[in-house]
Subunit: 347 residues, 2 copies
Amino acid sequence: MTAVMTANTQTNKRPVILTGDRPTGPLHLGHYIGSLKTRVQLQDTHEQYLLLADTQAMTDNAHDPDKVRRNVLEVALDYLAVGIDPSKTTITVQSYLPALAELTLMYLNFVTVSRLERNPTIKEEIQARGFGRDIPAGFMCYPAAQAADITAFKADIVPVGEDQAPLIEQTNEIARRINHQVGRDVLKECQALIPKFGRLPGVDGKAKMSKSQGNAIALGASPEQIKAAVHSMYTDPDHLKVSDPGKVEGNMVFTYLDAFDPNTEEVEELKAHYRRGGLGDMVLKRRVESVLNELLGPIRERREQLAKDPDYVFDLLREGTNRARAITQQTLDEVREALGMFSFGSR
Amino acid sequence: MTAVMTANTQTNKRPVILTGDRPTGPLHLGHYIGSLKTRVQLQDTHEQYLLLADTQAMTDNAHDPDKVRRNVLEVALDYLAVGIDPSKTTITVQSYLPALAELTLMYLNFVTVSRLERNPTIKEEIQARGFGRDIPAGFMCYPAAQAADITAFKADIVPVGEDQAPLIEQTNEIARRINHQVGRDVLKECQALIPKFGRLPGVDGKAKMSKSQGNAIALGASPEQIKAAVHSMYTDPDHLKVSDPGKVEGNMVFTYLDAFDPNTEEVEELKAHYRRGGLGDMVLKRRVESVLNELLGPIRERREQLAKDPDYVFDLLREGTNRARAITQQTLDEVREALGMFSFGSR
């Protein structure tokens, strides 16, 4: 296995991308536009690894491992349904890659507590989760775990939201520190890939689409669920009569058309019309609904088909995880050797 | 392998002891009297595991992995030389037990940062090492790593110095928290075993014998090294002439006779004589020297023999580590299953 992987790695000149999701709920339109769509494109030009990050999900869901477990399969279904091709992309389960845990513990020795505490992403997330002083130690340590993920796969590129750029900086800091100590580049530094399309707001206009906020449209949403969500969309509260001029900015109907309607020209015309007045919200909402049905219809269908055969999905995950296990174990072996750690037979 | 281990575990009713050492230097007389001697006795009545804790040693030696690597073999030689019998005691290398790293990351989610910071042992050690705010994150996390070690081996008893009792408390806290969450005792709580003989002072009279303080007598010390160390021993600075009455308390010559001289009756007579006056330090030092030579001579000889065949030692470590890998992996599987974590095929 290792020999085969080495051969592949040596002949494969494509840049390596590592990305993934914490399996805490089925994925939604925000994930689609923010990352899944790009991943489907990148798998043709890059060596892509998708991490079902259940170990990381436990750092703030230790009280509810059931949720994490169930959603490993759900997220895998989402991946396959949107067009992630397991012959091109390796999908792998984090908790079955022990080398990641071993590298994490190693890296924690190369970063100080105060450095972790200063990490802006961690600071914000601690606040968002209301942890206060009772932050689980695993949560504070997760930048080191992420550094382990990224470096173990020798990722060149890591797609992250703008708010997560400090995590990439932390990863490269650890890599540089170890490279400096061993006097050569045993670990690869990576680059952040910030998505073109920023964060998709929820249908209620709130900054972030999120299942827990009830403002999300899941990738597997039924036509009824799509209809209900679109009809509840936040538009322009001052646009009372059809004849009134309306505001396009911050109007979810247009945000969603910008994100999902392939006919950008018509969307621009609609915006102009809406601004002038004489265009009603219902017409626009019906258009959003139709655009989303066109996008999500085939995804939902594939998802339902796949969900009938979970063993097929488990087999894919097992295969991908075996492949990833060889790669991550090799990196661990390299780091150990470079640092001069013990091995049976070492003097 | 797993099946065999299960059978062994079920039939073996001996209480399980886990202990070990951070391989940062060869062991010395302080280790012998504080723990090794007891371990040699306990292996006949207990199921004993000795952990060469190289992963833990890295938490404050990340800058010098060479030292840790070299001392794995040195400490193993010390174990075998003092009479640890690998057919009775399993000697294992921590960094080759990935389940320990995986359990550590898991447990870090069940303990808060502030709880780790409050740990008195950690507080003291941070001060002793002069870390200040620049404490490596791995060092702060090591109570969770120790909880992983202890629970992974299902230890009933953990010999620790008095100052380390809070670490045992922390272990049991994590075990109780997880047991409570899953509604049954998947993890075993353990008891601290505080050694009868407290800490052996250095030959200079300082509280702790330590290689870095230059006040230690290594188990492999040569007769010349023993002679030099004993002759430099701190006795009673006011005992100037042989005829002067001398002080026994805090006098290293008597501390060492108490610790190592098998003839306690004669030692008591010597104390009385010294207190009265008329007994010179040189006579006593020659006695200490002879007692230590008698103890360390055979140990040194066995050590030198074993050191000539490191491959034999590596084979023993490999065997012990394989045995320990099966045990620790089984515990990890049990914890995962109890918590309801993902497995291929789980719904």
